[in-house]
Subunit: 462 residues, 2 copies
């Protein structure tokens, strides 16, 4: 359907949705037209803000009846343009479905709605001495629904796994309004297709998750951190792998290129030690026994020193994380940037950061690398520091493309945790062959034959 | 298609497959007509034994061209009749795709074909100081393909997760012969739909996995076991939960009802201690540090003694496991039995075993409970000890049905690790509502519109 036809039907949709008691916005919708991805924006035709599963079903029934595209939206913190609406299309904002329906401390599960902010879940779990282990920079505003939609990873995945690894069941609404439920509060389940695992990572293109059952862990009371400077990014990367392989079981292992830290330091007006190092490594260990946790930390320190660290200091933990978490925000304040969150087999990670810099030099661009070194999941941001740098417009696309080719050649994935959205959709054929993408398209067609649910995301156009 | 039409086309299929160089059996096919599920048997029309992905594709292309049903088969150790062929249909036996393509010790991944026997993978990993942590009684004959198809759990899942938790990517052949590949040797991946997670647990109804990339762990060198007798099954179940909750992180936590152990002891002509106890609990802990592993074991011992254990002994580990693993085999030698492998939220497990016995009494049947207590995943076998026990024929179906209703009322799943196959297929509507089953059927239709791939499994007939 063309854009003007969509716009023409919006008033009818507004009337129907309001008739079902659903809160609908039709003005000042700009905030719903973007997420945290640079350069993507579309103005939606309406924003529906359902408060219940039944209301989500009503929205998807209405979208189906009127052939209107509808884009689910969580906290709007996505970095792959997966929450950008179709022009004049509907946005299904899930922020009012924000109840923690249950913390089942006995069985160690949380049952949550998609609009729950990640940090709120952390705090609710901590009150029970429990822990939902997925964590990331955007914790204060990202929502569980978006975490599920992208299969978010974050900084503790090295020890506790990604979002998928925590999910034991979902309730979801499919296009047309059908409500499904699979899985539940069990650690094992072989009853039919794992629809919840198909929905996790599907970026709102297959269905809208309205409830998730998440496993919880007992909150480890002890956490110890180390900070180590290195004379080169590659040496830091090598040392990260040595720590990862040594059995100290770190709960975080973050690589921070010094120039990336500097951007955040400037923004925060706060300095980390070792301003002259090329890269920093942050290592954290967690545990239930203070002495053993300290032993693990000390063992990590030894490994760092044996693997090229110029120093190892017991980290000023909060300050280091503040800087680490501010990098993405600082990058956003530059004239231009583009982020790649590739993940490679972990032993290829040092070579990957090396290749990123080689490609940047080749194209006359600047690049910074930071992120989850222990996982092989590195944020590589090509940045434009000054507007007058004209190699940017000419070269950034080719540089990203070359970099993604290297990632795939290493056996990696072009996105480790952000998803494909609109941003990486057209790069998917670099990684997957046509038959695999075709098989994905067949599933999409099976559940959403008219292609109305978050159209244009994930699958490259035919 | 009716059975005689299928039979009529088999010679044509044999000719085509042999024309492509594929090994095809047409005689003495009885062994391919059953698995380890009681009471299920069908004679296939042919057995194809491909040696490569390309040959698997040729088999599925031929099945599609001739409209012939085809049932993939691994080690034939399944317990839900998922490997029973359609009458006169094709069997796709995967035992010759039995290469371990790679043990990537650096990145800690194994790349394996579906016909690899689980124990062979264990041994290959151990040579590299690594460990594939899924383990179960049938390790000597079950194949990775079947483990993937059922999302097998087993006895170490309490610490290391089920099969799904180890899978990072697959190559698979879809009906018609299209080959797909998703995932790979990365710990994070958000590039499109997680087709490998859809295939895991799909019991060969959606596609045939021809290669899997599995994460490996460093092999923990220390393993310590405890055996504790209890005066009642329920007390043992309560104690299991106490151990599970205490943070000693057991790698196995097995409940064995004494009458179940006795069946195995009789068969093996070997006795465990505490013949007069109502139930035994086996606790194992694993670790990288001998002292800490022993500390964990001792802590588990304390908890057992505080929770009703009549004694705690450092277990004669191999003997206990031999008996535990022989239970299923011993049960098979009885005149009749039926196994349920339900999994409930773990705190409901003691009540579940209580309800199993209540139902058995009500119907005049015998029942034994054993299995993965820490997971809430209990094997409940209704058994017929003597042929002359005529309440069996009259009552066993109703007893199982009542038991499954209790499982679902507890928020559990009717199968924790065996799958639905033909055995539990018609019970699925107890657990999932019609819209969810319909959504599963839509996926099946998308990839196998003619319904030729392992027909009749998982989804109840319309």
């Amino acid at each position: 359907m063309n854009v003007s036809e969509i716009a023409r039907r919006i008033p009818e949709a507004v009337e129907r949705l309001r008739g079902e008691g659903i809160d609908v916005l039709v003005e000042d919708l700009e905030a719903y037209g973007r997420d945290e991805t640079e350069d993507y924006f579309e103005t939606p035709g309406l924003v529906a803000r359902p408060r219940s599963t039944a209301e989500v079903a009503a929205v998807l029934r209405t979208a189906d009846a009127l052939d209107l595209p509808v884009t689910p939206r969580g906290g709007g913190t996505g970095k792959a343009a997966a929450a950008i609406p179709a022009p004049h299309g509907m946005v299904l904002a899930l922020g009012r479905l924000n109840r923690i329906r249950e913390i089942d401390a006995q069985n160690r599960f949380a049952v949550v709605e998609p609009g729950v902010v990640l940090q709120d879940l952390h705090e609710a779990c901590a009150e029970h001495g429990l822990c939902y282990p997925v964590d990331m920079s955007s914790r204060g505003s990202c929502m569980i629904g978006g975490n599920l939609a992208t299969n978010a990873g974050g900084e503790r995945a090295i020890k506790y796994g990604v979002t998928r690894d925590q999910v034991r069941g979902v309730e979801a609404v499919l296009m047309g309004g059908s409500v499904i439920r699979t899985g539940g509060k069990t650690s094992k389940n072989s009853a039919g297709y794992a629809l919840h695992h198909l929905l996790v990572g599907s970026e709102g293109t297959l269905g809208v998750i309205t409830e998730a059952t998440l496993r919880l862990l007992t909150l480890p009371p002890y956490r110890k951190a180390l900070l180590a400077p290195f004379e080169s990014l590659e040496r830091a990367a090598d040392a990260a792998l040595a720590v990862e392989a040594a059995g100290v079981d770190p709960s975080a292992l973050e690589l921070i290129e010094r120039s990336a830290a500097a951007l955040a330091e400037d923004m925060l007006n706060e300095r980390l030690p070792h301003a002259d190092a090329a890269a920093l490594l942050l290592v954290e260990v967690e545990g239930f026994h203070e002495g053993r946790t300290e032993e693990n930390r000390d063992r990590a320190a030894e490994i760092l020193l044996h693997n090229g660290a110029e120093d190892v200091m017991v980290a000023p933990r909060e300050r280091v994380w503040r800087v680490r978490h501010a990098i993405a925000e600082a990058v956003k304040q530059l004239p231009a940037y583009t982020s790649v969150d590739a993940c490679v087999p972990r032993r290829s990670m040092p070579q990957l950061v090396h290749e990123a810099h080689k490609i940047a030099v080749q194209y006359g661009l600047e690049v910074i690398c930071f992120g989850h070194a222990g996982d092989g999941n590195i944020h590589t941001d090509f940045i434009r520091r000054r507007h007058e740098d004209d190699s940017w417009d000419r070269n950034v696309k080719s540089a990203v493309r070359d970099y993604l080719r290297v990632v795939v050649a290493f056996g990696g994935t072009i996105t480790g945790e952000h998803g494909l959205g609109l941003l990486r959709r057209d790069d998917l054929p670099l990684q997957l062959d046509a038959s695999t993408i075709e098989a994905m398209r067949a599933l999409k067609n099976a559940w959403d034959p008219k292609g109305l649910l978050n159209p244009g995301k994930i699958l490259p156009p035919l």
